[in-house]
Symmetry: C2
Subunit: 600 residues, 2 copies
């Protein structure tokens, strides 16, 4: 437990997920994970959990109140951040999932997901420095040449240096094909960069002696659009004959974010003095495709952040609801009777169970998706890798956007449960609400996720992705039946899967018939439908595992009851919405589709 008792994430949940719901130990059969066992998994998670509770969480409010300072063009992180950085580095978190040859621990993503969820729940800003470094180093590992890996990747994985993702420009946010930062080739092999980046998280700070900006830019003369964008390694200070030399990347300004306030978001200016060296990563003009190949994992991290941010607030709300006395039972007649804790009011339990259903459903989906990522890379059988990749691709937009959107709703409910106290900065639920809002925006807005899901991923492999999805769900339906759950639970989920499949086919045909706008008009409803279904699937699995526990006579009856109640809640309250959403997609309901901008 953290000092004040907030567990951030329920430890019982983690055990349950890993070993009963998803049986992650099946990964131990893969060669890459051969040196691991249940204990090393537990150890990795426990170390992160303790760091989260004992170090990151106690600094959370501080970071929100005292954001980094920009002085004389230099950015100073919160003084406490230096210690947290060292502690996170000390646990080997940056390269945790990477191979031993680059200094990694070869930990499955499914396991790391749970470890990192604690850290993000405790302090998303603090984790941000680490997550960005991880992503930047991984890009060099995957696409950089040997020199870049040695000179720039290695110090990042060691935590000596940190990294950023420098994609966005003022005119190129969702539309990365409009990147304008220019890279002029030189005779020496490097490029000279000139341009402006914005919203660069951890774009400058004093935690590490160097910062490596993985930068999208356009080589002079490159084709317009997405096929002319290249990826560059652009350090803050470049290596020249073993020494670090200023590389002409300057801070043009700081954005005052409304959350994640411990993590600076900066505008950067490249090459103001004409001396900003960039090193091409991989081949020219392939920058966007490289980013895309790394995008699934980055998006899972955002999803985990969404879950963590909602979970920490849920535990605050739960503790508050159990202890705050207010009001009496509807049937109470004696005004002198003591007030009851508000958790005794059905409507407060409604808000809590809704949060629980969102958070635990999403966490299950994320760990499952991480599991598919592990298989997609490391399964020994090529067909299994391919199938896992399809599932990973299919579920990623949901695993990214659902925790962001419904997590935000969960965070708002945590505030609501606190009443006026929740509306004050004396309680942490309000800052968690602010933190959460970013997750529907960065790493592809919810609108982008919806287009990606319907336009690419759900139709991938000529239906193969959806078939694999259907098979996975039907395995869960079998398990639920065997566990003795009500037959109608599995039937409702199966029906929704069949409906989603038929709908996808119909929409794909509309696109193929030359009407992509008709196909995509209700992408948001399609995403909502598929998300609702995907979470219903998780709850069916969670309920099945809980029922198995009950059948074994497991001691924690309250835990089992909570799982069954949340499953029932989602299946009875949310899943039925799929019919209406499918109808909207299918009918192409025309109101906002057809309305002219002037009429708004």
């Amino acid at each position: 437990m953290a000092a004040d008792g907030n567990p951030l994430i329920d430890d019982r949940e983690v055990e349950f997920l890993l070993h009963e719901v998803l049986a992650v130990e099946r990964l131990l059969e893969l060669p890459i994970f051969a040196d691991h066992d249940r204990e090393t998994f537990a150890h990795a998670i426990d170390a992160a959990r303790r760091l989260a509770r004992e170090a990151l969480w106690p600094a959370y409010k501080l970071f929100d109140l005292e954001p980094p300072r920009l002085e004389g063009g230099k950015l100073f992180a919160h003084p406490r951040m230096r210690e947290l950085w060292q502690q996170m580095v000390g646990l080997g978190l940056i390269a945790a999932t990477r191979p031993a040859e680059v200094g990694g621990q070869q930990l499955p993503l499914a396991v790391y997901a749970l470890a990192s969820a604690y850290l993000m729940a405790a302090n998303c800003a603090a984790y941000g420095y680490l997550g960005l470094t991880q992503g930047a180093a991984h890009l060099l590992e995957a696409f950089g040449d040997e020199r870049l890996r040695r000179d720039y990747m290695a110090p990042m994985y060691e935590g000596k240096w940190s990294g950023t993702m420098a994609l966005t420009e003022p005119q190129a946010g969702s539309s990365l094909s409009d990147v304008q930062t220019l890279a002029e080739p030189t005779a020496d092999g490097h490029f000279l960069l000139r341009g402006n980046k914005i919203f660069i998280s951890a774009g400058d700070h004093d935690l590490t002696e160097n910062i490596v900006h993985m930068t999208l830019a356009r080589i002079a003369g490159a084709p317009a659009g997405i096929k002319g964008v290249s990826l560059f390694c652009v350090p803050k200070r470049r290596l020249e004959r073993g020494a670090l030399v200023d590389n002409d990347v300057s801070v043009a300004g700081a954005i005052h974010k409304i959350g994640w306030r411990g993590l600076p978001s900066l505008a950067l200016s490249y090459g103001e003095r004409g001396d900003c060296h960039g090193y091409l990563v991989g081949e020219p003009h392939k920058g966007i495709s490289y980013m895309f190949q790394m995008m699934n994992e980055a998006r899972l991290m955002v999803g985990l952040n969404g879950v963590g941010t909602a979970s920490a607030a849920y535990h605050e709300a739960l503790a508050y609801a159990r202890t705050r006395p207010q009001g009496r039972a509807l049937t109470a007649r004696d005004p002198r009777a003591p007030q009851v804790p508000i958790v005794d009011h059905a409507d407060v339990r409604r808000m809590l169970l809704r949060q629980k259903a969102i958070i635990e459903g999403a966490l299950t989906l994320l760990v499952r998706t991480g599991y598919y990522a592990d298989l997609s890379h490391h399964a020994t059988d090529a067909a299994e890798r391919e199938r896992a990749q399809l599932l990973l691709d299919l579920l990623t937009p949901i695993a990214k956007s659902f925790p962001a959107e419904k997590g935000y709703e969960a965070n708002a409910l945590a505030v609501q449960i606190h009443g006026g106290y929740g509306y004050s900065s004396e309680y942490p639920v309000e800052s968690y609400l602010r933190d959460q809002k970013l997750n529907s925006i960065h790493e592809g807005t919810t609108g982008i996720q919806a287009m990606d899901l319907l336009g690419r991923r759900a139709v991938a492999g000529g239906g193969a992705a959806l078939r694999a999805f259907g098979q996975e769900v039907s395995r869960t339906v079998d398990r639920a039946r065997a566990a003795g759950l009500p037959a109608e639970w599995g039937e409702a989920v199966s029906r929704a899967v069949a409906q989603a499949g038929a709908l996808t086919l119909e929409l794909a045909q509309r696109g193929a018939a030359g009407d992509p706008e008709g196909m995509m008009a209700h992408a948001a409803d399609y995403l909502e439908l598929f998300s609702t279904l995907a979470i219903a699937w998780q709850w069916l699995e969670l309920a099945a595992a809980a029922a198995e526990r009950r059948a074994r006579g497991h001691a924690d009856a309250a835990f089992i009851e909570g799982k069954l109640a949340a499953a029932q809640y989602w299946l009875a309250t949310e899943l039925p919405r799929c019919d209406h959403l499918a109808h909207l997609c299918r009918s192409g309901e025309s109101s906002y589709v057809a309305v002219s901008p002037a009429a708004l």
Copy 2:
């Protein structure tokens, strides 16, 4: 237009609502409004609108950034607030709806609602000082004796002094029956008060020489519970022989609210020196019933605030979406083509049309509810007054909670449309999002509104309230048919009304049969159902009026198109949800109802 072009509320909307949708001029036939005409209505609204745009809105961001200071136990409002206070007072806003005999303008609430919506949209904190003073003075007008009206009400209506509502205590928020502040009678007729109040908005400041706290307290020896709470007038400085004397009300602390930051929220301590005089208002032990009698109007004001707060952000998002270039059409093939404004993307129009449907639907409901309030007080026919009172009572919980809940969603969409920029404090949409969150909490949480609607108001008069509601809607259905709207629109609304009626009867019977908990378990779903229906009704009316405009060959085709599109959106997208919500209420879906607190 405000300096930067944000209209806050669309002027065309106001005209349309007053004279075509609701035909508020029918109120001119009532004796109380005899001195008014269309021009005086227009003048009142226009004066408020100009003040909102020219003075309140330019100070909005400033107030958010520089909240009032608490120094040496004294609270200092933002220096700009003094001028705004004088300007609002100068327009006679405090007593605008009150009778001439107390210095009022006898303006219908339906008209004042629109005037005040501009002010709240511009700067909710600035309006807060005024709104609270209005409420406090009105309480004295309604229930105070002649001395209290002369000494304390009159200076508030004049704007010389200000007022507060001092209800909440640390242990008594939603549960006002648990108020503990003690009032000891004295031989001199006044009471000596001792106790602590919290979350007192505008509880101290330097804008006026005196502040009158309308305070709930318990007379020594009073019965426990709701029947032992009395209402007191407790000034900051009391009048003694014509002079103002400190009355021993001190500031115990300030709450750091996350929005409405220009309006201080304070903890007050009464009678630390044993010298806090309170003057009983009305009869002993009737405090709660007095508050209840004033509550409808206070809740309509919160609803208007919700609409205004969502509307200002909507207009920001709309302007941004029309000018921000990003991306290209799905069918575009040339990456060198210029980017299109994001309003060209269907998903952005979806977010905008949803905001529009929420905001304009809610504003219509509020003005309509204000209209019923006017009739309930001033209709010459007693039966009409009674019927209007039933409708006012029925609709108030919806008019309060819908703008708070769905308005919050609208505000989040306004942030989403701004992307990363919306997540920064450089743009105003994020602070509007923070402001909005309070509206689901103060003046009765959404949970309280739900209980109030189902437990009291929907079952009032043995079904008379619902019958009156059904008659009103059916008048709209007739109008829609006559205007040539699709027949299925009216049919869908009629069906939903019938369903809501049958559901209410069934739930009421459950309550009458001794199962109040079964009746109330899904009060939140019931509120959502009734709100969705009430807004569908407004959209049917708005669409009918728009179709009538079209038939008359009105020039503003875009305005008419927008109305019809938003109506279609609400009727096709939201109204069908009522079936599922009714099912949840009827079945008593047991997940959160039955779950034990330990299982959460």
